[in-house]
């Protein structure tokens, strides 16, 4: 989006223009949903995170200073909301486990089946399933950088702006992420080799 257009759109958003809000949602719902899906690896959770992102945009657009692009800001909110969602889910799981130890397990802890990203081609679905399991094991920052780079297709420069890091740090994060993924996959295939 050209800078002038974006600036105009932000101004309209700040004035509470609903058409402007709809325009932003419809043009960026894909990028928000795809990023969230890459991180939370569950379509329902990704939809929930996407809604939370736009609710936050709606509520706090007046505080947006325009120091970065609107999309960069949206990516930042998405990453932070998706990571919060994962932490909440982990906490819930741990709590349910403790409850089950005391025999008060009324609610079943649902473990979804293996995640397959809907954008992966049919031939690659099986291989991608293992890769996504490995991505889920990565440390937070490596997971974010890898998702933004390989699933959202962003450049190192764009990722550095979103994560507020230097380009060199992003390169290093991605290098470590790839190394860890290879290590995980190697162990997996060695254990499951027939």
């Amino acid at each position: 989006m050209p800078v002038l257009n974006e600036w105009n759109l932000i101004e309209r958003l700040k004035e509470g223009d609903e058409t402007a809000f709809k325009e932003v949602v419809e043009s960026s719902q894909g990028l928000v949903y795809n990023t969230a899906l890459g991180i939370v690896q569950n379509p329902e959770d990704a939809e929930d995170v996407t809604q939370e992102v736009f609710v936050q945009l709606y509520e706090s657009i007046k505080t947006f200073k325009g120091e970065s692009k609107l999309t960069t800001w949206l990516y930042r909110i998405t990453v932070s909301k998706a990571m919060d969602h994962l932490r909440r889910k982990k906490r819930k799981k741990r709590f349910a486990f403790v409850q089950s130890l005391f025999g008060a397990n009324e609610e079943l802890v649902y473990d979804p089946p293996d995640f397959v990203h809907p954008g992966v081609s049919l031939d690659n679905k099986e291989k991608a399933k293992e890769l996504f399991k490995a991505i889920d094991q990565l440390p937070e920052k490596q997971k974010i950088a890898f998702t933004l780079n390989r699933i959202e297709g962003l450049s190192y420069q764009e990722i550095s702006e979103i994560m507020k890091l230097t380009v060199a740090s992003v390169e290093s994060l991605l290098h470590r992420a790839r190394k860890n993924l290879r290590k995980y996959l190697e162990t997996y295939y060695l254990q499951n080799d027939k």
């Binding site: 894909g30 291989k127 991608a128 293992e130 190697e186």
Partner: protein, 109 residues
Amino acid sequence: MNKMTTIQKKVDDAMDSILDIRRADPNPFFYTRLQARIKGVESNFWERMSRVVSRPAFAFITLSVVLILNTFVALNETSVAFSKANISDVATADDLGTNAFYDIENVQP
């Protein structure tokens, strides 16, 4: 050696499996669902209030204010209540030195 080469090939294939990944989009009518959620958030004032109140920062600030007020009141009270001059002033004003008011009860026939 052969086994390791096969494993490496599998790892490479898995790593390359998302090279041609396409962007996923949310289900249709996302904007309608979003509008419903925004209206829900706006109308539920008490839910928003409870979210603010349940923040650790809110609890910390409230506790600090209560402690500061308590300390302030306690310090002020001690300086006023335990001054000897004040005690004697109160005793004089209330005529605590005499017990003549008991005589009202003991009227002689």
